[in-house]
Chain length 368, copies 2
C-alpha cells in the first residue's frame, strides 16, 4: 500500500501524541474497570436538575442545528457578568478555545510562555500551530508570576498562559498579583487566563473583568462547577476586536444544541452551583484531614481537586497505580517536581468516604 | 483603546466572513419568526426514538467527559461497514472534519480544487488554512468530474473536494464515475469525498469503500438521515496512516458524550432510518409534482432536499424572500448559475403539504 498524499510541513513535523489518555482507554488496556473516577476533575455532583431537564428537552429538538451565534446564552452570560454579548465567544469547551487562541495569535516559530508542567492540552495546541513553548518551573508548587513575566519578555512571547486557579496544583493568585502580571506584558503579548475552576475560588477575590482589555482573554467553562464536562461547552471573555478574529476561523456550527440549552439553565440555577461549591469546600477539608492522618500534606486548593504531596515521584506513582488496581482513578502530573503530587478530584460525601477508605489501605501498604 | 496583540499573518489576511448565517440570526434581523424550517436540510423527522432515549440517558451522565477515542461507536461503525476501527475517526460533525482535513494536507499557498458554488464551509476552512481555491463550474447542475480532474492536475492540487450526493444540486455519480475520478489523481492529491447525504442515494449503487486507499477520505454524518444535526457528530472513513495525522492535531475530547451514545443507538435502528428515507423519497416525488403544477421543474435529487429551477436568479431570490416573509425558510445558493435554484428540504408529509400551499401562493404572485 502506498503512502497518503504529503501532509503539511507542520503536521509532518509533529510527533504522535495525545494530551491525555482517557480513562476508558486505560480501562481497556489494563482490563480493569474504574468504579471511583476522581482523576479528571469532573464534578461527580452532576449537573443542575434544571440544566439536565433543559438538555433533555433540547435533545428532542436536536434534529435542528444549534444557533451558530449562541445568541441567547451569550445574552445570559452578558447579564451575569454585566458586560456585553460582543465580549463573549462560545466554544465546545476550553480545549477548543485554547486551540483557536493559538491559531489566532501564533505564526509558526512564535514564542509562548507557560509554566513547566502546566496544562498539557494548551501545549498540544501550541505545538499543533507551530509555536515554540518556553517554560518556567513552578516555585513551591505555585506558578512563578515574576519568572513567567520575565520569560515572556525575554523570549518575545506572543502568548503568556496562566491557569488561575491553577491545574494541577490548585493554587491561586489574587487580583493584585494578576494585575501586576498584566502590566508587565509588552504590547504584543496576550495574557491567556484559563479560569476553568474560578467558581471554586471561594472567598478569594477574583481579578475584575475588564472586557475591553485588548491584551487579555479569559477562558471559562461549564465542565467543572456546572458539571457538564461531557456536554462540551465553554467560553471566552475578551475584547470584541480579538473575538472578531476568532469568528474568522472558528467552526461556527460546532457547539451542540443541548449544551447551549443546558448552560443557559445552569447559569440561572445559582442555588445548585452554590451547593456544589459548598460540598467541595467541605471535601477539601476532609482530604486535608485524611492526608494529615496518613502522614502526608495537601496543598491549598482553590479548585475542585486536592493535590496530596506524596514526598517523592516514586511514591506518588505507586499510590496512583495501586489506587488504579483497586478501581480508583486519580492522576499524577508527568513533569518534575509536580510528579510527586497525587491529584484527586473532590467527589460527593459518599465518594470521599470511599476514597478515604481505599487511600488508607493503599498508603498503609506503601514501601517506606 | 489600544489594539490587541498582532494576529497571525494568516488570520490577519482573512476577511470577516461566515459560511452560513444561521436562520435564528436572520429571524432576529428581520423580526420575523420561522414556522417552517426547510433551508438547512435538517431532517424534520427527528431522530430515532432509540437514539433520543440513549442521548437523554447519556445526558444524565454528562458530568463525565466522553471517551476521546469513541471506541464503542467506532466499533459499531466498523461492524456496520465491515472495516476496522482504525479506519474511522469521529468528529463534531463534518464541518469540523473538513477543517481538520485542510489543516492536515495544506501548506499556505497549496492548491485545492472544488466546484464553483460547492459547499461554502469547506471553502471557508481552506481559506482559513491558507489554501488557494480553484473552482470548476457545474455542468448542467452537476459536478463536472472531467473538469475537476483536469483542474486538480493543472493546479497541482493537494485536495480535490467532491460532494456526492451533491449539495446544493442533489445530483449523484455512480461508482464507475467516481472510480475514474480517483484514478485520474496524481499521487500527491487527496480525494475528499463528502457523503453527508449518502443514506438518501436510494437505489443508486455507492462507490465501494476501500478503507486502505491512501488517497481517499470520505466524510459521513449523523446530521442528515439520522436526524441529529444539533448533536454534532460525524466521521471520516480513511486510511489509518491518514487518520493518525488527524490524531496529532484534533481536539481529542471534543465530541460530546450524548452524541456518541445517540449515534450508536441510531446506527442500530435501521427500521427508523429506512422509514425516513422512504418518506423522503415520497416527498421528492411530491415536490416534483408541485413544480410541474406551478410551471417549474425540479432537478433529480439523491439527497433529502429538492432544488426547484426557478429559471432566473431574480425569480429564485424573490421566491425565497417571499417565502421567508411568510415564515418559510429555504435557501438559494449564492453563486451563478446555481443561484436560480431554490433548495428546499423534504420535511414530513404535513410539512410538505404546508410548503406546497405557501409555495403556490408565492409563485402565483411572482412577476412574470
Amino acid at each position: 500500500m502506498s503512502n497518503p498524499p504529503p501532509f503539511s510541513r507542520l503536521v509532518s513535523s509533529l510527533p504522535a501524541s495525545v494530551p491525555f489518555v482517557p480513562p476508558e482507554e486505560t480501562e481497556r488496556q489494563k482490563g480493569r474497570q474504574i468504579w471511583l473516577r476522581l482523576g479528571a476533575n469532573e464534578s461527580t455532583f452532576g449537573m443542575s436538575p434544571k440544566a439536565l431537564e433543559a438538555m433533555q428537552q433540547a435533545t428532542a429538538q436536536s434534529y435542528l442545528y444549534g444557533d451558530a451565534t449562541s445568541y441567547e446564552l451569550r445574552g445570559e452570560l452578558a447579564d451575569f457578568y454585566g458586560i456585553e454579548r460582543k465580549n463573549i465567544l462560545i466554544g465546545s469547551g476550553i480545549d477548543e478555545l485554547l486551540g483557536l487562541t493559538a491559531r489566532v495569535f501564533l505564526n509558526p516559530g512564535d514564542a509562548v510562555t507557560t509554566s513547566l508542567g502546566g496544562y498539557p492540552t494548551f501545549n498540544y495546541h501550541v505545538d499543533g500551530f507551530g509555536g515554540i513553548l518556553h517554560t518556567v518551573p513552578y516555585q513551591d508548587f505555585r506558578n512563578d508570576l515574576t519568572g513567567l513575566a520575565e520569560k515572556a519578555r525575554e523570549t518575545g512571547s506572543r502568548i503568556l498562559y496562566l491557569s488561575n486557579p491553577d491545574n494541577p496544583t490548585g493554587s491561586f493568585y489574587p487580583p493584585e498579583a494578576i494585575e501586576k502580571l498584566r502590566r508587565s506584558l509588552s504590547p504584543d503579548c496576550l495574557l491567556l487566563l484559563d479560569e476553568a475552576y474560578v467558581e471554586f475560588a471561594g472567598e478569594n477575590a477574583i481579578w475584575p473583568i475588564d472586557p475591553e482589555d485588548p491584551q487579555v482573554i479569559r477562558t471559562r467553562t461549564f465542565s467543572k462547577a456546572h458539571g457538564m464536562a461531557g456536554a462540551r461547552i465553554g467560553y471566552i471573555l475578551g475584547n470584541p476586536k480579538t473575538l472578531a478574529a476568532f469568528d474568522k476561523i472558528r467552526n461556527h456550527f460546532g457547539v451542540n444544541r443541548p449544551a447551549q440549552a443546558g448552560a443557559l439553565a445552569s447559569l440561572r440555577d445559582r442555588t445548585f452551583l452554590e451547593a456544589v461549591v459548598e460540598s467541595v469546600t467541605e471535601g477539601k477539608k476532609e482530604y486535608a484531614r485524611l492526608a494529615k492522618e496518613t502522614g502526608f500534606i495537601t496543598l491549598p486548593s482553590s479548585t475542585n481537586f486536592v493535590t496530596f504531596d506524596m514526598g517523592t515521584a516514586e511514591r506518588a506513582r505507586a499510590t496512583m497505580d495501586d489506587l488504579w488496581e483497586r478501581g480508583v482513578f486519580t492522576r499524577v502530573p508527568g513533569t518534575a517536581p509536580l510528579n510527586r503530587l497525587l491529584r484527586v478530584s473532590v467527589g460527593t460525601p459518599e465518594e470521599r468516604r470511599e476514597f478515604a477508605r481505599v487511600f488508607r489501605e493503599v498508603v498503609s501498604s506503601l514501601p517506606e
